[in-house]
């Protein structure tokens, strides 16, 4: 990402963090304010909008029928896609997904997949032939930093909000019936991202801090407090101690967040 902030600003951020403070008044381990709205796209089977400070992510879930993958004939299909639409930031460009949007989608995908959040076996209509395909489309509407946590939260919130069409099989053909069933969920992973500035770890870096950090680490934590996915990013490094410290903080933050959300 191009350098959008000045060296003076960068120095300011670093100096504050040295003292355990941040530009926007937060403590090193604090999240920005989080707002979640569910069900705002009526035409989608599920949807949620997350505001993480000024970062805004909308996730829509669509459910269609399709074929299972040959190696998992008894499981439905999950497809996660992310669009960094150009109205969200001057640094986003229209066009096919770039490495940043692909990484975002794949990190959110792993959190959901590895925690077995969706009960994929209940999405099977006819084993090996026909299953429900769950499309999770992440739409970043305003980029003010820490897209991973906002997108992961919006994705799980949207899935919690998702209804599957009822169906019956008539003469070998799937007939969609009236009514809906809740999408079968087994877990609600929460992803916590930390950045490293001058050797210090900060939670939920916002846009200007993202310019200042040399690396980040994102950990998806499941309902039991176990780790189910990790992604290190950025051109810097962590010491092994910092990694364990980050894992500890992530677990703590996820538990707190989970309590607050009543998930």
């Amino acid at each position: 990402m191009s350098s959008l902030i000045t060296r003076v600003r960068l120095k300011q951020i670093e100096n504050l963090i040295e003292k355990g403070k941040r530009l926007d008044g937060r403590g090193l381990g604090d999240y920005r304010e989080i707002k979640i709205e569910q069900g705002i796209i009526e035409k989608a089977e599920g949807s949620a909008r997350v505001l993480l400070g000024k970062t805004e992510v909308l996730v829509g879930v669509k459910i269609e029928t399709g074929e299972p993958f040959p190696d998992t004939p008894n499981e439905g299909v999950l497809t996660v896609n992310a669009e960094l639409v150009p109205l969200a930031s001057p640094s986003f460009e229209a066009g096919p997904p770039d490495e940043n949007s692909i990484e975002l989608a794949r990190v959110v995908d792993r959190g959901i997949r590895e925690s077995k959040a969706i009960d994929a076996e209940k999405l099977v209509i006819e084993p090996g032939k026909k299953v429900f395909v769950v499309f999770v489309d992440i739409y970043v509407l305003n980029h003010d930093g820490n897209l991973i946590d906002a997108a992961a939260l919006a994705a799980v919130a949207a899935l919690r909000n998702t209804k599957m069409p009822n169906y019956e099989i008539e003469n070998g053909e799937v007939k969609i019936k009236q009514g809906y069933t809740q999408l079968p969920m087994r877990a609600y992973p929460i992803t916590v991202t930390l950045g490293k500035i001058n050797g210090k770890l900060i939670v939920d870096p916002w846009l200007e801090e993202e310019e200042a950090i040399d690396s980040r680490i994102s950990l998806a934590i499941n309902d039991e407090g176990n780790i189910c996915a990790i992604q290190k990013g950025g051109v810097g490094y962590f010491t092994p101690q910092q990694i364990l410290e980050a894992a500890r903080i992530a677990k703590e933050k996820a538990t707190a967040l989970r309590k607050k959300l009543d998930w």
């Binding site: 705002i40 796209i41 989608a44 805004e56 669009e83 150009p86 109205l87 001057p90 305003n142």
Partner: protein, 247 residues
Amino acid sequence: MSEKPEKLIDKKGLRLDGRKPDELRPIKIEVGVLSNADGSAYIEHGKNKILAAAFGPREMHPKHLTLPDRMVLRCRYHMAPFSVQERKSPAPSRREIELSKVIREALEPAVFVEYYPRTGVDIFIEVLQADGGTRCASITAAALALADAGIPMRDLVAACAAGKVGDTVVLDLMDTEDKVGSADVPVAIMPNLNAVTLLQMDGILTFEEFERAVDLAIEGCKKIYAVQKEALKARYMAVKQEEEVEE
């Protein structure tokens, strides 16, 4: 899954959603909703939910598209995959490419492009939910995004469709009416200049029906124009209050 309704207009002359033939759907507009764009607007027009943003005037990439005597306007109309019944691939469809062009050409007459030569303005439109008439609602929102970005303009552009449902010429078709109805005439105008900047038509209309549809659409646009001005005013009041607080 989509069954055709039996009657688009009932005995009382009311439409599927209870509207009279010349009645608009509810419209809600908010200006200045995105912090990273130079200008932005969000519109709910019926069940349509659309975001528009403007960036610029700014340096253009690639540079060879720059023009020496004027600003270049670019526009991308794009639908979210979850905005419609069947998931839409995020890659731009031929329809989206055509609409991007006609929307740009509907907005450009309102912009003083000669004020900022060698620059570009990008308009990005994201349809978050579609329910018939997205191109018109997009123009309505995008005009406000341009104004919010401080782009010098001759007038706002307000847009609305009329059409024919059964034997009746009606205003502002929603999705079902658009699909089952017999004609759709999207129109955009610069209200103060009596100028039509977008006009398309699908379906079959006699000359007289067409005349009636254009009149009805223009009336609709004028009502939407009033909503646009209210939204702009609300935005400036908010900005002013913020500034006063900061002082």
